[in-house]
Symmetry: C3
Subunit: 139 residues, 3 copies
């Protein structure tokens, strides 16, 4: 069994952002030389996500508006987490909806995806350096 | 390390549906001849889900009503994704709540499940052909 | 390829509770002697979760209040699942939001975590014995 590990770093200029990382994960997969196996891609932070969905800008606007409705940023005082001096309780909730990680099958050296599947980094508390872990195991 | 891959196809006659696929995944596991490992089961589409919960028809009605409350289909015009001519933005949101994938432990050649765990395909934009990927790695 | 399996048992005295299990999972990892691989941690029940977030008590209060808003316990009669004599339909929905499982990379014999990542068991229908499965594969 082989394994390979690499990080992808981000520094989003917006508080909330969605960044397509399919190509970067595919390049890491090539470097791994793994042909059959599983690829874990996870945020290493608790206020951001990795998820799979459509690379369509209208949908990303829908996600942002929808998450704001389900887990609003304001009023900041509604969250006990923000009593610690933080203002990012909502980002922990938003990330929970969108998910921490994806696991992708590797088949014949490729990400084994359906037609519209793309991997995204979802940032909910940006303006600082953050990273995603890619861990691949297989043969 | 061994690996095995198979697809399960669907053509739901309803827009929203939940289909138990535990038995089909178990049959694929037998064909794989893998005794210890991990089994990934994921939707290959971005408007449907794979998830684990209870095989109880009342609960499935609750899921459908609850998802409609959290991510309503109508009005279609509330979603920017639907400006592309689609009407399925809500199905992308519903699938996000229910999840894209599950990872199941394989132990002694069986799906290593608790008493009530069953795997479901959750369709949120049916009336067309769709598929689920089963990828098993192990020994 | 090596594999290792162990269960963690709980008997929460509250209906809803969040219990940090990072240390227990780390001890199981040591026993496995696996240095590179993937670690699956999943609830074996359909009314509880395993998830990764912040070990901060204010945030856990926020999670509890937020889940109660998104999937309220009462009125019990709003859920068809409860027609079976159960009163826990809401716990199936809450667990869906929080997730069934996490997959964690194993690197150099350690859980490959970012700074604030901690694994939690999330109970939404406590006062009974329940368990979590830890399955590790790798080398």
């Amino acid at each position: 069994m082989k394994s390979y590990r690499e990080e992808i770093w981000f520094n989003c200029k917006k508080r909330i952002d969605f960044i397509c990382i399919t190509e970067q994960v595919g390049e890491i997969l090539k470097k791994s030389e793994i042909k059959e196996g599983l690829c874990l891609v996870n945020s290493m932070h608790i206020s951001s996500s990795v998820f799979i969905n459509d690379n369509e800008s209208g949908l990303h606007k829908d996600f942002e508006k929808w998450l704001e409705k389900l887990a609003p940023y304001e009023p900041i005082s509604q969250y006990r987490h923000n009593d610690t001096g933080e203002d990012n309780a909502d980002s922990h909730l938003k990330r929970t909806i969108m998910g921490r990680e994806v696991v992708v099958a590797i088949t014949k050296g490729e990400l084994d995806f359906g037609l519209w599947e793309e991997i995204f980094y979802g940032e909910f508390d940006g303006l600082r350096k953050k990273r995603v872990l890619v861990k691949i195991i297989g043969e």
